[in-house]
Amino acid sequence: MRPLTYSRARDVDDALALVAAGPDSAFLAGGTTEVDLLRAGVSRSGHLVDINDLPLTAVEDRPDGGLHIGALARMNDVARAPGVVHRFPAISRALLQGASEQLRNMASLGGNLCQRTRCPYLRDGVSACNKREPGTGCAALDGPNRGHAVLGTSDHCIATHPSDVAVALVAFDAVVHTVGAAGARAIAADDFFLLPGETPEIEHPIGRDELIVGIDVPGTPIARNSVYLKFRDRQSYEFALVSVAAAIEVDAGIVTDVRLALGGVGTKPWRAWRAEAALVGGPATEAAFRRAAAVELADAVGREQNAFKIELAQRAAVRGLNQSLKGIRS
């Protein structure tokens, strides 16, 4: 592991100043991503600014039925907060199906949003990877790419975004709040994750020295019926092959509102906008779900080992919608 220096920020201003001071400084929250990447030689941070003393751990219910989640709230604390469990079961389920109990006790929500892809070519330190060394190419395009994305890919990168909770957050229009030298910003979760395009090394619209302070989720009654389903090879402690956050509202058999987002298949947590549009106003039937899922995946690009995910994602989306529907009926 490369030599590092370390300091501990007292408050938000201190944290911002400390990170701004060093060209290779980075925030350190739970460290479950950052320390891994330092060991792998992928993170080039030379100075870590520990932000764990900052008062950003709250998980609060908002009067509009929404939530405020501090950037340093731990995955397990958020997952088990009663307001999250009751108002946004998909967020709770997404968190609990991520990582392991030990990791969830360390890992923060802010860090979770900033975690990096699990693409082995990013991590191996030698293969062509436009995220690690822009301009070197993407070894995954024609290599072992079973875990890679089929949605939102480009010729420069097909790395999957790994977060579970981010899938639920984009489904429910969460907003990421940051502060930086230029002041405070509010960024829609869906915009917080960038498509790789020609610049896969740029993953978020925030600067290195901009701090996430919290996440707001607006009140959304439909979310009470939300589900989060995660499908993978083994039953715990693995990233998703495909996951789905879904919530549906039906009146007299007609879909009045729906939220659908997919994980494990996109280069970003994938809000299924097109499927949602196709569903609203139509019948809440499996056939309609199936058609909507097909619309969403119509432009998906499969490669040698991951093409199966295009069909798998559709079947998972149908499952998610069906389960949410069952939830309302029961």
Binding site: M1, V126, P144, R234, R290
Partner: protein
């Protein structure tokens, strides 16, 4: 009271759970410095330049060594399985002798620094330039070059096994089943990373090594370094799992000793998790196919079994896949052929259940298919074909297959099974059950095994042999055997192991460890007991003076005679009266000869219930049941754990474990535990383990056949058969992943 056969808890349990048990990497002699190995990033070619300036300048660095600095080995290594008891290099190759690169990860630079972190940081600063050559690392790339292997396993086994006329047997069959499979490579992934601490004292070397064979390590390192064997001592107290990865001796061990000699300090190496994929061998990528011929009533007329796999450039290594398929069933015509492709990988190696576990997967899924074709219950088909002798006509040293099949079926609730596939829906799931035979050969290639027993005048005793504890419970089992043989209480005896200064025992591999150690310890304890009984009988001061030695029994250190009621002596008093501070004896166990007129297989039967989600391709194993006949069960608690672990491993082999190289670079695609999947607790189903008692006096004085691998064999086949039963589809590759199980057409989805 005898201790053998009772469920004694692990004697090393407290040390392990309190952290007092020291693994090799936890041993730090004064002045120890740390080694990091830089492995080649290309799989074939040549090192053209090494720029080590930045590494040499990095903080804490003591040495950066290249092929120019590493000494020539005293004699080139020759692959030999460690069970033979001699030097046992894992491959006939030693790196850093020149600039040529044969496989990805091959060591090219060594960095020694004061701390582990400094060594690894400096290693990351070394710049190595290569002239890369095209590499072959997959079967698809090398298919054209495949050749028939004459001999396997360093010449120990024939590459081809034949009896009768297979073509005629297939021709006269009423039915024929053909199956073929692709099987991904496996890596062992023991929890403990291979580690070495090398300490020189003048011309003498001590190694603290994570190995399954201290003697194999001692002899291999001595040979490579040109040292007398007597100048190399290997100490291994605890090993955090081996599963075959530590059965052979790999270059990193000797490189550590070389580095320690160069820097003049004790040097510690602990491989990183990614390096564990390129340093200690693997189960090779393979393809197997089988053709079964049978009569309409399900009797086999011919078996043809083929295996194609990738080996290294230096060795003809294949896991032997036909050792069981050639003898399990009564069938006059058999042909087993191993074909090899030389490629740019290290020499593959033993991986739990070597060879036979995949060989049995092929045979037992084909038998399942045959059962369907002849409309017989799969269990009945097996019973109809069970061989009562080995193919030479020799009786089994002990059998038990039929009993295992019947007991396993009864415990699992097999009877009354509806044979039709897709007959048991359960919501989104389809339920299926499957079974397979488990069988594993016993190999007696080892030299005589020795142990020493010692008793002190205070009544405390030790038994000792050089073997090492690698998680199987050998310390506990040998303590029990020693206590019974010597006739002392379990609390009065200690088993010492893990040191080449102790009497010889061979590497604990091939399910032979427990049997070998138990036999040697039994002989030593028995020899010492006889010696002491004789002493008492000859001692005028002993109440047992002059009795018939055959009349004497010893329990808890107390001697009594059936000829002289009421007379007792104790070991302690006996030694005291005779002015002896202690007494000791050595015992030797000689394995049965290689041409012993007995068939040597251990038998079992496996049953599995799975739930399959055919839309999403998910497979969940709901139940596993195994019945085994491993001879004498020395400690049912330990045996059960070993077998259950094996069964879970078999599940993992069926559904999760597989590694592939990137054919463009020859590097392994999965080099950490996030990508190379092993099961977690959530995957573990209910597992039941039952024993069938069989008596065996061929395999050793205690009649123990070993439980190290048999638990795994057949599980993957039982699961695959259950998946077929659930879905009506057969998957042709291992592991069986969601994309291979998913129903292919969207039309299948209800609309």
């Amino acid at each position: 009271m005898t201790s053998v056969g009772t469920p004694v808890t692990r004697v090393d349990g407290p040390a392990k759970v309190t952290g007092a048990a020291l693994y090799s990497a936890e041993i730090t002699p004064p002045g120890t410095v740390h080694l990091a190995i830089v492995g080649s990033t290309v799989a074939a070619g040549r090192v053209t330049a090494i720029d080590a300036a930045a590494a040499r300048a990095a903080e804490g660095v003591l040495a950066v060594l290249t092929h120019d600095d590493v000494p020539a080995v005293a004699s080139p290594p020759h692959l030999l399985p460690s069970l033979l008891g001699a030097a046992a290099p894992g491959e006939s190759f030693f790196p850093m002798q020149d600039t040529v690169v044969h496989y990805a990860g091959q060591p090219v630079v060594l960095v020694v620094a004061h701390t582990y972190e400094q060594a690894h940081h400096a290693a990351s600063l070394v710049r190595v330039d290569y002239e890369a050559a095209p590499a072959i690392t997959t079967i698809d790339q090398g298919r054209e070059r495949a050749y028939d292997a004459e001999r396997l396993f360093a010449g120990l086994m024939p590459g081809r096994e034949e009896r009768g006329d297979v073509e005629a047997g297939l021709a006269r069959a009423d039915l024929r089943v053909d199956m073929s499979y692709r099987m991904a490579a496996n890596h062992h992934n023991a929890l403990e990373a291979p580690s070495t601490v090398a300490v020189w004292n003048g011309g003498e070397l001590t190694l603290y090594e994570s190995t399954m064979g201290v003697r194999a390590t001692q002899q291999t390192v001595a040979q490579l370094l040109g040292l007398p064997v007597s100048h190399v001592r290997v100490i291994t107290h605890f090993v955090g799992g081996g599963f075959g990865s530590k059965a052979m001796v790999w270059p990193h061990t000797t490189l550590t000793a070389m580095a320690a000699r160069i820097v003049g300090r004790p040097v510690k190496l602990m491989l990183t998790r990614p390096q564990m994929f390129t340093s200690t061998g693997h189960r090779e990528e393979q393809e197997q196919s089988i053709a079964l011929g049978a009569t309409r009533d399900g009797r086999l007329t011919a078996i043809r079994h083929d295996k194609l796999s990738i080996t290294s450039l230096f060795d003809d290594w294949a896991e032997p896949a036909t050792g069981v398929s050639s003898q399990l069933y009564a069938c006059d015509a058999y042909l087993g052929v191993h074909r090899l492709i030389k490629g740019n990988t290290m020499t593959p190696t033993f991986t739990r259940g070597p060879g036979e576990t995949l060989g049995m997967f092929t045979l037992e899924t084909a038998m399942d298919e045959l059962a369907r074709r002849v409309d017989l219950d799969p269990l009945e088909l097996r019973l109809r074909n069970v061989a009562t002798t080995d193919p030479r006509g020799n009786p089994w040293s002990s059998g038990g297959l039929e009993e295992c099949l019947r007991l396993g079926a009864e415990r699992f609730g097999w009877s009354g099974r509806n044979p039709a596939p897709r007959a048991q829906p359960d919501g989104d799931w389809l339920i299926g059950t499957g079974m397979a035979v488990a069988a594993y050969p016993m190999a007696f290639f080892m030299p005589p095994q020795r142990a020493r027993a010692r008793i002190f005048a205070d009544g405390s005793a030790t038994v000792a042999t050089s073997t090492q504890e690698f998680g199987t419970g050998v310390l506990t089992m040998a303590t029990q055997v020693g206590a019974d043989a010597l006739g002392v209480a379990l609390s009065d005896i200690e088993f010492q192991a893990g040191d080449t200064d102790l009497p010889n025992s061979t590497a604990a591999v091939g399910s032979a460890g427990a049997g070998m150690v138990a036999s040697a310890v039994h002989e030593a304890g028995t020899a010492l007991r006889r010696q002491l009984v004789d002493l008492a009988i000859g001692d005028p001061g002993s109440p047992l003076h002059g009795v018939d030695p055959a009349s004497v029994t010893v329990t808890a250190g107390r001697l009594t005679s059936s000829d002289r009621a009421g007379a007792t002596d104790t070991y302690g008093e006996l030694l005291g009266r005779n002015h002896l501070s202690d007494a000791e004896a050595t015992g030797t166990w000689r394995p049965p000869p290689l041409d012993t007129p007995h068939g040597l297989l251990t038998f079992g039967a496996q049953f599995a219930e799975v739930a399959v989600d055919p839309q999403l391709g998910l497979v969940r194993v709901r139940r596993l049941g195994g019945a085994f006949a491993p001879g004498r069960v020395l400690n049912p608690l330990l045996a059960r754990s070993q077998l259950m672990g094996g069964m879970l491993w078999g599940m993992s082999q069926a559904l999760l474990e597989g590694n592939h190289t990137d054919p463009r670079t020859g590097r392994w695609a999965e080099t950490n535990l996030a990508e190379y999947l092993v099961p977690v607790n959530a995957d573990a189903p209910e597992v039941t383990v039952d024993f069938v008692e069989v008596h065996d006096d061929v395999v050793g004085p205690l009649g123990a056949k070993g439980v190290g691998e048999i638990g795994q064999v057949g599980v993957a086949a039982a699961i695959a058969n259950a998946i077929f039963h659930a879905t009506g589809r057969r998957v042709r590759s291992l592991p069986i992943t969601p994309e291979t199980v998913m129903e292919p057409t969207p039309a299948a989805a209800p609309t």
